[in-house]
């Protein structure tokens, strides 16, 4: 308890437990393989983290508001497939807004169920995970989706282009992170998200429309998912139906790794970005030290759990809690 307020280096380390763990991993990887800290490798990691990162930004809103969103993975597959399909029928200029519209409609539906009907978000979004997957398969007829004329379209701009040498996915991730960080930390809406997640009843007693706030957190999440789908589709110009499978848990891990509480009411966009980077660099580091592909998932999750443990241990000053 007293450790939280400790001053000096020890106190700083205790507050930044997750960053400390991160730095330790980085140093370890860098010692094992010099390439890990090469500039182009670092850019590469951030670029490949951008898609999951964009989704994590949206889920941060949902989690701070006191709910979960497990539907983002299959919703991202949906966005990707839809935009690729519409690209060939409507052309890219109409396909992109149409895809955003459809994805936002899904988000609005979830927001309605969780916010206004007050259904449990775990059940709703778990159900939507499957339902949206079915929707995607129905749309595509079970086929992979490919753009017919890959050379003749400007659609690859978002996933493959760059601005002044900075890859577009990084630009989009960075811009979105900045904008959403301002929304969350500086606007009345952001404040209400924290209030609703921190103590919903007190929020109601303060005249905050709880249902509407929750509704909008899911809308923001859906917007981020649509952006991620656009990045994915634009990068590969073709996709399987299951491209986002399993992303929901990785995204949630990033958000929690960054330090948001699953109980709601705490977390920031900056912390989530840190969580995203930790995740990306660990994955990359394991690849570079030559770990076998199939073992990687096991190690990644072991490392994440270890990092979260170290974080909590540093905060309470002990490795385990003496009181159950």
């Amino acid at each position: 308890m007293a450790d939280l307020t400790k001053k000096g280096i020890g106190g700083f380390l205790a507050r930044q437990g997750i960053l400390v763990a991160f730095v330790l991993f980085m140093v370890g990887f860098a010692l094992a393989n010099q390439r890990f800290i090469a500039i182009d490798n670092i850019f590469g990691v951030i670029r490949s983290s951008a898609i999951l990162g964009v989704m994590a930004l949206g889920v941060t809103f949902v989690v701070i508001g006191g709910n979960l969103d497990l539907s983002v993975g299959s919703m991202m597959s949906f966005s990707t497939i839809v935009v690729l399909d519409l690209h060939d029928t409507l052309g890219p200029t109409l396909a992109i807004p149409a895809m955003f519209g459809l994805t936002l409609a899904l988000g609005a539906f979830i927001g309605f169920l969780v916010g206004y009907l007050k259904l449990n978000s775990l059940i709703v979004t778990l159900g939507m995970l499957s339902a949206i997957h079915g929707l995607t398969l129905t749309w595509s007829g079970g086929q992979n989706m490919d753009i017919a004329d890959k050379e003749g379209t400007w659609f690859g701009l978002f996933g493959r282009g760059d601005i002044l040498g900075v890859p577009m996915p990084i630009v989009i991730f960075g811009t979105l992170a900045l904008v959403l960080s301002l929304v969350l930390s500086k606007t009345p809406f952001g404040r209400k998200v924290y209030a609703v997640g921190g103590n919903g009843q007190a929020a109601t007693f303060s005249g905050i429309p709880r249902a509407r706030v929750v509704f909008f957190t899911y809308l923001i999440s859906a917007f981020c998912v649509a952006t991620a789908g656009l990045l994915q589709a634009s990068r590969s110009l073709g996709s399987q139906n299951t491209v986002g499978q399993g992303y929901e848990l990785e995204v949630l891990a990033m958000v929690i790794l960054g330090g948001a509480s699953l109980l709601g009411g705490s977390g920031t966009i900056l912390k989530t970005v840190i969580g995203v980077l930790i995740f990306g660099f660990i994955e990359n580091g394991l690849l570079l030290i030559g770990l076998e592909f199939y073992v990687q998932d096991v190690v990644i999750w072991a490392v994440i759990i270890l990092a979260v443990w170290l974080d909590i241990a540093a905060k309470r000053g002990r490795l385990w809690s003496p009181i159950a």
């Binding site: 308890m1 007293a2 307020t5 400790k6 001053k7 301002l182 500086k186 606007t187 009345p188 404040r191 209400k192 924290y194 209030a195 921190g198 103590n199 009843q201 007190a202 929020a203 109601t204 007693f205 303060s206 005249g207 905050i208 429309p209 009411g265 705490s266 003496p322 009181i323």
Partner: protein, 503 residues
């Protein structure tokens, strides 16, 4: 009694936190069979002292002796094993389990193969409950009990060991007068068995009724111990806050304005029935009654949290229908709720953000919340209400109860409401802050606010109200002016005794 060695003795206990000496050389002793009050304002160090005794904090200096043996207490279990048990203000019971399971949680009696010995469990529990003289048995589900009875379960839990010292922390905070009588009997019983009792409370009447000695803390320092029989409220208060305190009936009368709020024949299911009253600008109307008389429910209905089944609400002479707190706030109604932590505050948020929460939409510069506007509101009400906090960034959960309540009051005052409803304004708050809040309520009325105060404490109601509405079982029994009210007539009215029923 005085010759026996103390059951518990503290000597020069010091506990420091960064920048604060929370306890600064506290010494006192607890004799067997005495009730020893521990008093002090919020933040005086009572809770810290209790946490040291309970093994949650490690003292930096000083020693603790249980039965003249120097001990080091490092966990709540250890404290209990040494016979030092706590009855906490906030109950920590599992609603879905039975009384017996709650009492023996973690130490259920076992038979072979780890099976629970239900027979012994229920028999042991009923034996303890019998000494407490309660109306429920071991098999009752705790969630079905009233708050008072749940407190009895907490007490029963303390009796599973042979206690040397029992520490009661604000035990009467949510009890009715009748329930208090039962609690005091239990305390007297423990006393007669030679148990030492530390009794923490802000309620003077109780302190003088049941304690033998009173020890006072101020700013972490021990200020002395008084024999209850040889002292009076004034002396204790002076020791606690270093000045005198005023606890008389309200006698100030100022100009009253128009009717701000009128309620006609309001009903809500079986919660309350045919309730009518008016509140003028510049007037404080007190609602007094037992817990469950329907007072809070009336407030919640006016605030849009419940829909009335019948009746009308008129604001400034115009009938309104209010379906949500948003609408209530827009019409200038504010509610300081009864449950500070559950309904009043987002505990993980900082002081400023809590205070400005209802009006955050109006405090913007462009699309963003204006830091400056928020801080100036916070500073204004921090000074006005004398809120003690290191700064607006402080998390509200870390403040004392009195300061938390002031944040909630500040939150609603800064909305400049037409009608301010305050539900149990000083529950769990120390004497000093209490009188500050009372003065504040009177000031607000003088400034022309229409104020409703709901309280279960008679001195409070008498002290702040211009008129008092006495309620019993969902009905208004009688309305008194502050000139005509007497304690007896008030008690009769809220007990449902008929007599001279004049509406």
């Amino acid at each position: 009694m005085t010759d026996q060695p103390p059951v518990l003795r503290l000597e020069g206990v010091v506990k420091t936190f960064p920048g604060v000496r929370a306890l600064d050389g506290v010494s006192f002793d607890l004799r067997p069979g005495e009730v020893h009050a521990l008093m002090g304002e919020n933040g005086a160090g009572k809770s810290t002292l209790m946490k040291v005794l309970g093994g949650i904090y490690d003292p930096n200096e000083g020693q603790i002796c249980v039965a003249e043996e120097q001990v080091e207490i490092t966990s709540p279990m250890q404290a209990k094993a040494r016979g030092v048990v706590f009855i906490h203000q906030e109950l920590s019971l599992a609603d879905e389990l039975t009384v017996a399971e709650n009492i023996w949680l973690g130490e259920l009696p076992l038979k072979s193969f780890g099976r629970v010995d239900w027979g012994k469990l229920y028999a042991d529990t009923d034996a303890i409950l019998k000494t407490l003289n309660v109306s429920f048995d071991a098999r009752t589900r705790v969630g079905d009990l009233s708050i008072a009875n749940q407190q009895m379960v907490e007490i029963a839990r303390a009796l599973t060991v042979d206690p040397r010292a029992v520490i009661f922390d604000e035990p009467t905070a949510s009890l009715t007068d009748a329930e208090k009588v039962v609690l005091f009997k239990v305390i007297a019983d423990l006393q007669s068995r030679g148990v030492g009792i530390i009794y923490i409370s802000h309620r003077m009447e109780e302190i003088f009724k049941i304690t033998d000695r009173i020890s006072v803390l101020r700013d972490g320092q021990y200020r002395g111990t008084l024999n209850t029989a040889e002292t009076d409220e004034e002396a204790v208060t002076q020791l606690m806050i270093g000045r005198k305190l005023d606890l008389s009936r309200n006698e100030s009368h100022h100009e009253m304005g128009d009717v701000a709020l009128e309620v006609r024949g309001l009903s809500c299911g079986h919660l309350f029935n045919d309730v009518s009253f008016t509140v003028h600008r510049g007037e404080v109307v007190g609602f007094y009654g037992l817990v469950g008389a329907g007072r809070t429910e009336i407030a919640e209905t006016i605030f849009g949290l419940r829909d009335p089944s019948e009746g009308q609400i008129l604001l400034g002479g115009e009938e309104v229908r209010i379906h949500s707190p948003i609408e209530a706030i827009a019409r200038g109604i504010s509610l300081v709720p009864e449950d500070r932590k559950g309904q009043g505050l987002v505990l993980g948020m900082n002081c400023r953000d809590n205070m400005t929460l209802p009006q955050v939409d109006d405090l913007t510069a462009g699309p963003f919340v204006s830091d400056g506007a928020e801080i100036s509101i916070f500073d204004q009400y921090r000074d006005k209400l004398d809120i003690r906090t290191p700064g607006w960034r402080q998390t509200v959960g870390n403040l004392s109860g009195g300061n938390q309540q002031k944040i909630v009051i500040g939150k609603w005052l800064s909305m400049r409401p037409e009608v301010l409803i305050v539900d149990e304004p000083t529950r769990g708050i120390d004497v000093g802050s209490k009188s500050e809040i009372h003065n504040l309520i009177r000031d607000l009325a003088a400034q022309g606010y229409a104020v409703i105060v709901i309280s279960s404490e008679m001195p409070e109601v008498l002290h702040v109200s211009d008129r008092i509405v006495a309620m019993f079982s969902g009905r208004v029994m009688r309305t008194f002016t502050s000139d005509e009210v007497t304690e007896d007539s008030l008690i009769q009215a809220i007990s449902g005794l008929q007599g001279d029923k004049v509406a």
